[in-house]
């Protein structure tokens, strides 16, 4: 009975912790509450399952493993750079998925016959979701980390489809066929391996800018795998934890898809709907501007906004953004940051980077809040973003990004786009922002350009 009460407390703590995590003022408390709830549940389980028959070796092993794992986790999380956050989240997610696969296989191996179809299906689904989350997250990690991977080809998609069909067929035949105890371990092993392969081939074709969707989805998959483990071990806290994670992942996935005006299927298919193959290469007339000119332009502004994108993360320019804000403040200029929901490689990526650079939360503005008042900005600096400020998304029905909500930087009095070169955005669509009379392009590395601007502002 007391065990049930402890479990109840833990479950309530998880829900409450997650609730707090949605509130900026109490998010830190929420994280602590969730962590404490999990630790309580772990201790309760360990006590409930150890009796006089439990060898001291097993207990020592358990404690040792948990301490060791905690130290690894701590060291890992302390060392990671904030720009590498998507990679770290992917790796941790992969570990959770791997854990689900190991648990399922081990349960069948050690406990022998599975006596109900319900448990069988639970095991199968646990293997499928866990396996896909494991290898999928590993491939996502390698993509995010810029590791060399095979170029996405059509064949990958076909392999993924075949694997998916195979897994569905095995699951269906298991449901229909009369119980066959002997074959189940082999069946589970086969389907787990298929899921591991599926994770690889399903993730390979997905492009960099779609990473926010992919990471959210993989997170949801691990949640479902945890949920299945909860059913397998008849453990309510695992169940609730798994569902909360699954719900969070799914919610973020749909939000990210909405922010790109694409369906989940479209993202998973791994490509924008064929962007007209031959993009009309009417040479764009670009109006360049130098860093020095930019500085003197900014000095005469009242209100300026920065639109950061993945390019800012690549250039590691977040600290220079903070320095620019400080410098402009001394020149009497207000600097805001406008963030698109899918900017970067994971949901909220830009917010974390700006927070790391000490940029106050008060100067960070949501896309929807900024769009209505864009004309009040004297200048907008676009740093390493492209598709999210492309007006074609609003006025060119033939464009493949048409319908995607964008930051209406073009409505500001002056737009300056910082670019490395003339490369197109992720979608490969021509950015019609450059055609606008109020748009100029500042070529060069974002970090160096910002430093030049700051130095110039100091002299003004």
């Amino acid at each position: 009975m007391s065990m049930a009460l402890v479990y109840l407390a833990s479950a309530v703590g998880l829900v409450q912790g997650l609730k707090y995590m949605g509130d900026p003022a109490r998010a830190k408390l929420g994280n602590t509450v969730a962590a404490a709830s999990v630790v309580i549940a772990l201790i309760a389980v360990a006590i409930a399952h150890s009796g006089p028959g439990t060898s001291s070796f097993t207990i020592a092993l358990l404690v040792g493993l948990i301490l060791f794992g905690t130290v690894i986790g701590k060291v890992w999380s302390d060392r990671v750079a904030m720009t590498a956050m998507p990679q770290l989240v992917s790796i941790f997610n992969a570990l959770g998925g791997a854990c689900a696969v190991v648990l399922g296989l081990n349960a069948v191996h050690s406990e022998g016959p599975v006596d109900s179809k319900f448990l069988g299906i639970v095991l199968i689904l646990g293997g499928v979701f866990g396996g896909t989350a494991f290898t999928g997250s590993m491939v996502a990690y390698m993509k995010l980390d810029g590791r060399k991977l095979p170029r996405p080809v059509k064949a990958h998609k076909h392999v993924a489809q075949v694997l998916l069909l195979t897994m569905s067929a095995i699951t269906l035949s298991y449901l229909i066929a009369p119980s066959d105890y002997l074959a189940f371990p082999t069946l589970l092993l086969t389907i787990s391996i298929a899921a591991l392969l599926y994770g690889i081939f399903f993730t390979l074709p997905i492009g960099g800018a779609d990473m926010p969707v992919l990471i959210s989805l993989l997170n949801a998959l691990t949640g479902v795998a945890t949920l299945m483990a909860g059913l397998l071990f008849h453990d309510p806290v695992m169940l609730i934890g798994g569902i909360l994670v699954g719900a969070t992942g799914l919610l973020l996935t749909t939000q990210m898809c909405t922010a790109m005006n694409r369906s989940l299927g479209n993202v998973l298919a791994g490509s924008f709907r064929s962007s007209g193959a031959v993009v009309n290469e009417a040479e764009q007339e670009i109006k360049p501007i130098t860093a020095v000119e930019t500085a003197s332009l900014l000095a005469f502004c009242k209100q300026v906004a920065v639109v950061p994108g993945y390019g800012m993360a690549v250039a590691q320019a977040q600290r220079e953004c903070f320095a620019l804000q400080e410098q402009l403040r001394q020149n009497g200029v207000d600097l805001h940051f406008i963030i698109h929901p899918v900017a970067g490689r994971m949901p909220g990526h830009m917010n974390v980077l700006l927070a790391e650079a000490n940029i106050p939360y008060a100067s960070v503005i949501d896309m929807s809040a900024a769009n209505g008042k864009m004309e009040y900005y004297d200048a907008v600096l676009v740093i390493g973003a492209n598709d999210v400020v492309n007006p074609a998304a609003e006025n060119d029905p033939t464009s493949s990004i048409y319908g995607m909500p964008i930051i209406r930087a073009y409505k500001a009095k002056q737009v300056i786009v910082m670019k490395r070169g003339m490369a197109k955005g992720y979608s490969g669509v021509t950015n019609t922002l450059f055609d606008r009379a109020n748009c100029k392009v500042l070529f060069g590395d974002a970090k160096e350009s910002l430093l030049t601007i700051i130095n110039e502002l100091k002299r003004i």
Partner: protein, 108 residues
């Protein structure tokens, strides 16, 4: 296996259905600034799967070394997932200063 506290499959389905609704309700309106911490925090919560590893580990003996090794692996994987996730979320949230309210954009 003797579970001191466990639930039947039907109870499980009840829990699944109700907490799914609850989950969506709890996290429905989360500001973008918290998306990354929410994701890494929920990722840490999914490390709770290590409970399964603990149950397996405590219910095997040295006579079945493979089962024990696999359970140990599961415990280790789950712990790193969980501990690392909570630590990094804490680190991230420590960076957010929320003394002032977010701005509403420029003034005319």
């Amino acid at each position: 296996m003797d579970f001191s506290y466990s639930i039947t499959p039907i109870d499980g389905l009840f829990v699944v259905a109700l907490s799914l609704l609850l989950g969506f309700e709890v996290i429905k309106n989360i500001p973008a600034v918290l998306h990354t911490p929410l994701m890494s925090g929920s990722n840490a919560i999914s490390g709770i799967i290590l409970i399964g590893g603990i149950i397996q580990l405590l219910n095997t003996t040295a006579e079945s070394p493979w089962t024990m090794a696999a359970a140990s692996l599961a415990v280790l994987l789950g712990t790193v997932n969980m501990a690392g996730g909570f630590f990094v979320t804490h680190r991230m949230l420590s960076m957010f200063s929320v003394k002032r309210k977010p701005a509403n954009g420029p003034r005319p």
